[in-house]
């Protein structure tokens, strides 16, 4: 293990290379520029392909081709660019092609701004493109966790043959922290891909499709996807709990907001408020079950987000009226301070 000081964007790039990334395709956009630059510098030196595409549409379709060839492949962008990638993501999901997509979210809608925001939660977790599909969505809250989750994203994508997304934001991308980088993966540990397009020499041709004109046929294709999603929901839910054992109020927050919420919990505890935190690490599959269990004994579950309340819908689905579910959010790239959130917490606890 090597311990180095890195920006989030760079740590994500380095972790991807260590995960065995072979082909990276991109189109520049802030706030993930350092990721692109790092790849341009490092990936070709280490045996991979770096290619700047003419658009996000082209980049995601290059990922589609490289994934079909059976290599580990990735693209990264930020909100407006991720919108352009949605058609390709739907095709990747429909064709069951593994890949990793990084979205360092910024303010929206439209051109928005380049400040940290969490307005792409619906897009990431509920579909985004057309059709009945899901992405595995991983939401790191620190630079070391980002590196770790990128490596996990490649493994999960290959294991289940689904696209996986790293959902971060501009703050995570720019922040510098010491990171312990895991050693590069042994290429022989990456699962075989007998479905890949490698040329049909000595075997029947492989065909990669996301369509079937017969409704029965397409229903079967969809059932395979849905069975995979149920399996992921059973096995891959990840979350972190902080001080929830005796909590009277539990905050639910992810990514950058999850990190700030941790500070809020510390300050609240210093003031004698029994606050806790549940931080989803996988946004899909969402930790419905752990939240439901908390809601059995915690009277208030406060969702804090850098959006108008997108994850809040999932929180309410999990809680189903068992507890009060207030919401505190900020918009447009404004990041609330721990003090502001703490005063919100105080509104909901009996002193």
């Amino acid at each position: 293990m090597s311990r180095v000081l890195m920006r989030g964007n760079e740590a994500i790039a380095e972790a991807a290379i260590r995960a065995g990334l072979k082909c990276y395709f991109c189109y520049p956009i802030t706030p993930q520029g350092e990721l692109v630059e790092y790849m341009a510098r490092e990936l070709p030196k280490r045996g991979g392909v770096f290619l700047q595409a003419e658009s996000e549409v082209a980049a995601i379709n290059m990922v589609y081709g490289a994934a079909a060839a059976g290599v580990r492949t990735m693209t990264s962008s930020s909100s407006p660019g991720i919108s352009l990638k949605q058609e390709g993501i739907s095709y990747l999901a429909g064709s069951r092609l593994p890949c990793v997509i990084v979205n360092m979210m910024r303010g929206g809608p439209g051109l928005g701004n380049i400040a940290p925001a969490q307005g792409d939660y619906f897009q990431a977790t509920k579909g985004g493109g057309h059709g009945d599909y899901r992405l595995i969505v991983l939401a790191p809250s620190t630079v070391p966790e980002a590196a770790q989750l990128v490596m996990l994203a490649f493994d999960l994508a290959d294991k289940y043959r689904v696209p996986a997304m790293i959902l971060g934001d501009g703050m995570l991308g720019q922040m510098m922290e010491p990171v312990e980088l895991p050693p590069p993966v042994d290429p022989s540990s990456i699962p075989e891909k007998p479905w890949a397009l490698t040329g049909a020499e000595g075997r029947e041709p492989n065909v990669i499709l996301s369509f079937d004109l017969s409704p029965q046929g397409l229903r079967e294709m969809n059932r395979v996807l849905q069975d995979t999603y149920r399996e992921i929901e059973r096995s891959e839910v990840r979350w972190e709990e902080v001080e929830t054992a005796d909590a009277e109020i539990v905050l639910v927050a992810y990514g950058t907001m999850g990190r700030i919420a941790k500070t809020v919990v510390e300050r609240a505890r210093e003031e004698g408020i029994k606050a806790g935190l549940l931080r989803p690490i996988t946004l899909w599959p969402f930790p419905y079950e752990p939240l439901r269990e908390l809601a059995e004994r915690v009277p208030t579950i406060l969702t804090v987000e850098l959006s108008a309340g997108q994850m809040w819908e999932d929180v309410r689905l999990a809680v189903e009226g068992r507890a009060k579910t207030p919401f505190y959010g900020e918009l447009g790239g404004v990041v609330p301070t721990p003090r502001e959130i703490l005063s919100e917490v105080k509104k909901h606890v009996s002193s």
Binding site: S95, P205, I208, L209
Partner: protein, 257 residues
């Protein structure tokens, strides 16, 4: 349908048959459609170069969406217009593959213009077969970027009015202006002689890839009798008398070194 094997009597020789690269799946095209001829020429090129075991084809969105059924090689179906980006990903990931895309005019020259132009500008080392039938076949005969001035389609019922919708896109001429492409040519399959010329062009476009020469594109003028609303013979006449006026045949760029 299954392949019928006929024993060759002594003294006889088999001189013509189904290319090995072609499967025995029946074509899904309308009678008289040129897609079938062009598809066969590709299979012949694959056979002649002995590359079936390392070839990956890319089926577009359009009447040739089922292309993967017709060949005995690996295949992927791409989103509408994105074949050149998908080909880029495949070929960059595994340069040992022989990659070709097969695209209609709507796919390649309207929704996929950017992907086509930039793959050509990068000199990506794959082969593009571009079927220009001046119409959107699959969706029912709408105007294509290659629809001729005055041509009637379901979205230009009075004939294409250039004041309203402009002129056909001569994408091969445009691509020939770029530095990187190795080979840009326009061919036709309306008679036996031209079928042979098209065959040679397609073979060259694949050979270029084997030799690492870079981007090669063969545009083939074609008919869509169904949406031209013409019998096949009349549709062929349309190609020779009308389409060729706008889209003259011949090599537009040949980089030989």
């Amino acid at each position: 349908m299954s392949q019928v094997s006929v024993e060759i009597p002594p003294g006889y020789q088999k001189v013509f048959g189904r290319p090995r690269a072609l499967s025995d799946a029946p074509y899904t095209y309308c009678p008289g459609c040129h897609h079938g001829i062009i598809g066969r020429l590709i299979a012949e090129a694959i056979d002649e170069l002995g590359i079936q075991g390392r070839t990956v084809g890319i089926a577009p969105v359009g009447c040739s969406v089922f292309l993967y059924r017709f060949y005995r090689c690996d295949f992927i179906q791409a989103a509408h217009g994105r074949a050149c980006a998908v080909a880029t990903g495949l070929k960059r990931a595994n340069p040992d593959l022989i990659v070709f895309s097969y695209q209609g005019d709507g796919d390649l020259a309207a929704i996929g213009t950017a992907e086509t132009v930039h793959a050509a500008a990068r000199g990506e080392n794959f082969t593009v077969i571009f079927v220009n039938n001046q119409i959107y076949g699959m969706t029912g005969g709408e105007m294509a970027p290659t629809t001729l001035p005055g041509q009637r389609t379901v979205t230009t019922p009075q004939g294409r009015d250039v004041a309203l919708t402009g002129y056909p896109l001569k994408i091969s001429e445009m691509l020939a202006q770029l530095d990187a492409p190795a080979y840009i040519t326009r061919q036709s399959v309306h008679d036996a002689r031209h079928v042979q010329l098209a065959r040679k062009a397609i073979l060259k476009a694949f050979r270029n890839q084997l030799e690492g020469k870079g981007f090669s594109l063969v545009e083939v003028l074609a008919t869509c009798p169904t949406n031209f609303r013409m019998p096949p013979v009349e549709a062929q006449k349309w190609v020779t008398e009308k389409a060729m006026q706008f889209f003259p045949l011949g090599d537009l760029k040949v980089r030989d070194e």
